[in-house]
């Protein structure tokens, strides 16, 4: 059954710091779920009269409708004690959960959507980078992605060429490792965890683990929310709503290698909730 593949994956359903003890109704892959915080013990997620498996990680509560054959991924770099971990919160977007992830993997839109913040129109070029599906860990990776950014992070003083690495460890999650202005030997970690509500509606939970002693938490959250709200204006206006997996539907270029690998990986695993398989 093709729908089973995505049921067997883990999804974020809330911030651990903000769970409701009375229970909050939500959706996961179109199915109703209820999320309950607990004064003691683990939070619960209930659906269809049964308790679903839960994991508490990266400041979020995670669950699954099926039976995952592996634990929720880890981000070892994020564990460093000096990092500031930022629960950005939730942004609801009227788009396919897969389109939300694909947009996160894209640097070519920075000059036009995040103008003078993550990109500048005077520096739109995407140089060659490396993309692979790592079979041993079953993840999509893009490395050596370089891009000129006027204000790469809250902690960046001026324009710098930023290096990025992207990782897709689950169908609706992506982690970005990027040059960390105050610590050249480390990477800032910015993650996008997407809760697929329906095929064309999702809750996006951005999360960060940064080396930044200077900025106030509120400013870090505002920065990330500003970026994501700019993305939302794109995501809610793409046609078709669902991510086309038929290569004939859209026209990728060399800058889109990560997106091409992501789409191929989705197709290979039948991760098709939010995808459009044939042109309509």
């Amino acid at each position: 059954m093709t729908a089973q593949a995505m049921r067997d994956a883990w999804y974020p359903v809330g911030l651990l710091s903000q769970l409701s003890f009375e229970g909050k109704d939500s959706l996961l892959l179109g199915q109703k779920i209820t999320i309950c915080g607990a004064e003691t013990g683990a939070p619960r997620v209930e659906s269809d009269g049964r308790n679903l498996p839960v994991v508490e990680r990266f400041g979020h509560l995670w669950t699954t409708l099926g039976a995952p054959n592996k634990d929720l991924f880890t981000i070892p770099e994020a564990d460093h004690p000096d990092r500031t971990r930022v629960d950005v919160g939730v942004v609801r977007v009227k788009c396919s959960p897969l389109r939300a992830v694909e947009n996160f993997l894209d640097v070519a839109h920075f000059p036009f959507v995040h103008t003078d913040i993550l990109g500048a129109e005077s520096h739109p070029e995407v140089s060659e980078y490396k993309v692979e599906i790592r079979d041993d860990v079953d993840e999509v990776w893009a490395t050596k992605v370089e891009f000129f950014q006027p204000q790469a992070a809250k902690s960046a003083g001026g324009g710098i060429t930023t290096e990025y690495m992207y990782r897709v460890p689950a169908p609706t999650c992506s982690i970005l490792y990027k040059t960390c202005p105050p610590r050249p030997d480390e990477w800032d970690v910015i993650a996008l965890f997407v809760q697929p509500l329906t095929e064309d509606l999702c809750d996006v939970w951005p999360w960060m683990a940064l080396f930044d002693d200077e900025s106030a938490m509120t400013d870090l959250i505002h920065f990330q929310q500003l970026i994501f709200l700019q993305d939302r204006s794109i995501l809610e206006n793409q046609i078709p709503k669902r991510l086309p997996l038929d290569p004939a539907m859209e026209t990728p270029t060399r800058a889109d290698l990560t997106s091409i690998a992501y789409r191929r990986w989705l197709k290979r695993h039948n991760y098709t909730f939010g995808a459009q398989l044939v042109a309509e």
Partner: protein, 213 residues
Amino acid sequence: MAAESDARWVPVAISADIMDGTVIPARLPTGRIAVWRSVSGHIYANGDRCPHRGMRLSHGFVRGETLSCIYHGWRFGTDGACQKIPAHPAVAPPKTINCGALPVVEGNGVVWVATQRPSNEPSHIAGFEALRSLVITATPDAITHAFEGKTIVGATKVQLVGHDALLLMNILGPDEVFVIVLIETDLSVSDRLAVSAAVEGLRRAAETTEDAA
């Protein structure tokens, strides 16, 4: 669909609503389009979808005689062909990348678009100009009935607060019609406001008729 039915001019917008250097969304019975006016004042229309990642081109921006997608800045010329992919400045875009330019003309203050170029221009209606546009959620028959209109070739003749007017209809769906109201060019501002208010009332009447049916 028969080519013959495609080769007709459809009223999609009011000329004055599209300033130089801007783009707006509009609709044909066959789908969404982007209508834009270049900086030199020429009008163009094409599909409302960037072939790259499906972003609506009506959210894009106009520079000179080109329309660019807001997502990745892909630039399209007046023939719909992609001229530039900013992520790859040294690469000439393949000729096959095209956002689908459509035939477009202006007359009586109305922008007309066709999916295939008709043999004639839209007929000029001397002494009339566009006042406003609106979408009415009703059938064309219900609209004609509510406005007590008389169907003539290409338009519906009506009387609005004592003034001759014409309705141009772009039938978007079974009960959704984009309407442009033409009035006599010499009407005063207060008369124009009165006609516009009357149209609003008749829209409600047409939509109510539909509900009752």
